[in-house]
């Protein structure tokens, strides 16, 4: 068995366009008035064929349309991509196709079309449940519009998830408690709950550097919010299965589990990353970020990639641990040793367990909720000599 099989195989498609750029977002997204979806379709299909030839036959677990705003894609385009991917690989029994969508009325109108084209799961960028905060986050929908889109989505798809951003400007602990309680009452089975992160190169990042981004919560308040989130979700049967992701048992995002379980994933579209195992070597792939440049490269040289690196065994072990400890299920130490050829110091494991940060259960290493909230520090300790 190859290592990637511990995590499965997913296919990621990046759609780089948005109606507007959100001030917190550091994903590869662009605002463009004219998009020739036919031209993009040929490019995507050509990339699928290229990747398929390299990877060869295996079972496909998931497809994920991310962005950008993939709910701006024509349903036909989505269907064509899914169809082409499925011609190359047989799919698993629990095959999943997710598409990220914005909860505006226009986009909700396309949901049925996506469903017909093979999408089985929708992940909606809800972000906040009140208009004032939606406005501050630069979102194009109102709370009411979002709720309506959510209803449409629930009718069209068996599986619907939505995102909320918390630890926002001027948000109190009580306000977040109320908002999350309301969200959990919406009979939903998957929630992504992200703490607002100020990233460099975003509008918020610029404002923050100029000292103009006020009302951000203190580290203490943000931490309290994290633990309130765990508490409320636990009560609602939606425990965290990953740092920021909560689901009813069995409703986890299978595609994202491929990342966290450090499986293989192919990535196509501008700025998409991949990790694919070819001839026993793990390869990190990356494509051109600029939509036009990517399109041209695919058309002219049938390849949208920029550079690729072979990921060393030691780096694979680090990446596997870095991703795996985000999950409540943790990682296998044996798998770590098999990859890295070395062991994490047992003294370190013991110390961190004693401090209540880690749980060691036979071969399984897990971070406790206390440990998960300082995961970066844990990783520095665990990987310092690797």
């Amino acid at each position: 068995m190859e290592d990637w099989q511990n995590g499965g195989f997913g296919f990621y498609v990046h759609w780089p366009f948005c109606m507007a750029k959100c001030p917190y977002c550091d994903f590869n997204s662009h605002v463009s008035k004219e998009i020739d979806q036919k031209q993009w379709r040929s490019a995507y299909l050509s990339e699928i064929d290229r990747v398929a030839e390299e990877i060869g036959p295996r079972t496909l677990n998931t497809i994920y349309f991310g962005g950008g705003t993939p709910s701006l894609m024509d349903p036909d385009l989505v269907a064509a991509i899914i169809e082409r991917i499925r011609t190359h690989w047989p799919t698993a029994n629990d095959f999943e196709v997710t598409l990220e969508a914005n909860p505006t009325s226009i986009e909700a109108g396309r949901f049925q079309g996506y469903r017909d084209g093979g999408v089985s799961r929708i992940s909606m960028g809800y972000q906040a449940l009140n208009d004032e905060d939606l406005r501050r986050l630069g979102r194009m929908h109102t709370a009411k519009e979002g709720m309506e889109a959510f209803e449409i989505a629930k009718n069209a798809f068996d599986r619907v998830s939505f995102d909320l951003i918390y630890a926002r400007q001027d948000q109190t602990l009580d306000a977040w408690r109320d908002e999350l309680t309301r969200a959990l009452e919406l009979s939903i089975d998957h929630l992504s709950l992200y703490q607002l992160t100020i990233e460099q190169g975003t509008a918020f990042g610029d404002r923050y550097e100029r000292g103009k981004l006020r009302g951000l919560p203190s580290e203490d308040l943000a931490t309290d919010m994290f633990f309130v989130t765990q508490e409320l979700c636990d009560k609602a049967g939606m425990s965290a299965y990953e740092v920021s992701n909560h689901a009813k048992l069995g409703s986890e995002s299978r595609h994202n589990l491929v990342y966290w379980r450090y499986g293989d994933y192919a990535g196509i579209g501008p700025g998409a990353h991949g990790r694919i195992t070819v001839n026993g070597q793990k390869i990190a792939t990356e494509t051109l970020r600029q939509p036009e440049a990517w399109l041209q490269a695919v058309e002219k040289s049938s390849n949208g990639e920029t550079e690729r690196d072979i990921v060393s065994k030691a780096d694979q072990a680090s990446e596997m641990l870095m991703m795996g400890l985000r999950l409540s299920e943790g990682v296998s130490l044996e798998r770590f040793s098999a990859l890295s050829g070395s062991k994490i110091s047992s003294q370190t494991l013991e110390n961190l367990s004693e401090m209540g940060m880690l749980l060691l259960d036979g071969d399984r290493l897990r971070a406790t909720p206390q440990g998960r909230v300082i995961l970066n520090a844990l990783l520095r300790e665990l990987l310092v000599d690797i």
Partner: protein, 599 residues
Amino acid sequence: MTDLAKIRNFSIVAHIDHGKSTLADRLIQETGTVETREMKEQLLDSMDIERERGITIKANTVRIDYLADDGEQYVLNLIDTPGHVDFAYEVSRSMRAVEGSLLVVDSSQGVEAQTLANVYHAIEANHEIVPVLNKIDLPASDCDRVAEQIEDVIGIDATGAIQVSAKTGQGIHETLEAIVKELPAPEGNRDAPLKAMLVDSWYDAYLGVIVLVRVIDGVLRKGDRIKMMQNGSVHPVDRIGVFKPEMTMIDELGPGEIGFLTASIKQVRDTRVGDTITHEKKGCAEPLPGFKPAQPVVFCGLFPVDNAEFEDLRDSIEKLALNDASFSYEMETSAALGFGFRCGFLGLLHLEVIRDRIEREYNIELITTAPSVIYHVHMRDGTMLELHNPADMPDLTHVDHIEEPRIKATILVPDEYLGDVLKLCQDRRGIQLDLTYAGSRAMVVYDLPLNEVVFDFYDRLKSVTKGYASFDYQLTGYREDFLVKMTVLVNEDPVDALSTMVHRDRAEQRGRALVEKLKELIPRHMFKIPIQAAIGGRVVARETLSAMRKDVTAKCYGGDVSRKKKLLEKQKAGKKKMRQFGKVEIPQQAFINALKMDD
């Protein structure tokens, strides 16, 4: 050999930035000693650090052939002396090697503390002193005021002061004429046994140790067997020469002449500044007076950031020590910092120069611990212990009393900053000895404990006076005071490298400042960390560094792996630069920054 009457030996006394090096450059250039196209700035400062900092660390000489207005050919020997208080002894020896000085004062600035310290060396050496007012091209130049100040403060006649702009060349010719006419020719007896003063020495990779000498009596020839009178070592002279400023070989040096010799000497340590050189046979009976072995006064620990570089550090320190007899070292082990060296220096500048050279020339990143002075710890059994490192402080029950070195500090400062300077000196346990005015500048003299000065006094002084104060000091002796060792405990463990000696009355205040600083400097850990300052078993100040609460990436998907891994690698590298102490990691710069006081 040159006729004594045609020799003039001189030095230049000046404060930093008053134009000493530029003036020296001009004198060399004016006489055609160096072709203009070969000129580079500050010809005499040969080390990078000297050029960068505008300071002179080693003495240098240059021999200038000058055809004077009287039609006679003269030999002018300039000794460029170190200008810093750390090298006061070297300065005094250089001064003894010449008969006169140019006192160079920036005519837009006036007399500074360092000018004073060095001019006193010149006066002590019975120099004829020629005042030179430099930088007269500057709009702020005020020759009358500065001449008056020279007379008031230094007490020498400045009516004939030469007005010079080393920048434009104005007054350079007059300066050369004044050297010939006003400075005395050296005296000496060619037929007496050889008596020469060792002015300075340094190591040259090709020639071995180069010794700068001033011949007093007798003649030094190539092939002579010479004896160093301090240690009795004998060496055959294989080269004799002068600097013009490049090395020029000659056959002999007679009385009054200044030049260099090489004699297959391998270590600078064997050539002590101020020593007397004579012939092995038929040597002179008495050495020249005033020799003092170099005495380090400031000590600190130097540890490699990367423990694996310890041997490289040893190697670099040994090499530097070969070339610097005033620098001492011994191996030190610290529980916090691992293996390193406890090093002794002439002063803070000397410390910085050595540290910079290790870091730059040998490429070793260093952790420097807080500088300490030598305390005299008088034990109950009547013995006395010289304490170089607070970590070695003996058990108090055996200690009778402790004495610390004191200095006499002279500070010149514009009136408007006087209040801040007095407060600073007061805060550092100073006792005011004198306060006078020279024009609009105040001159304050303080008796201060050296330990209050070795660390950041000069930085603080510069900061409270916006750089307008000048400062100089001399050691005056030891005095008893109520001194205690303050220990720092991080997470209940004492950190030896952070121990300091403090005055008992200041201990709480210092302790509080120290633990507050450490709280800022130590990053948060997964657990809370008490930081305490203690005297003996008693905690005098305490802070608690709370545990880190949140450090996690909210979103981490397939596209984030590479970036997050890079970030993690960077953080791991940063972690490797920390010192593990018990369960706590302390950043290397904390060991020195913790002690910096913002007052």
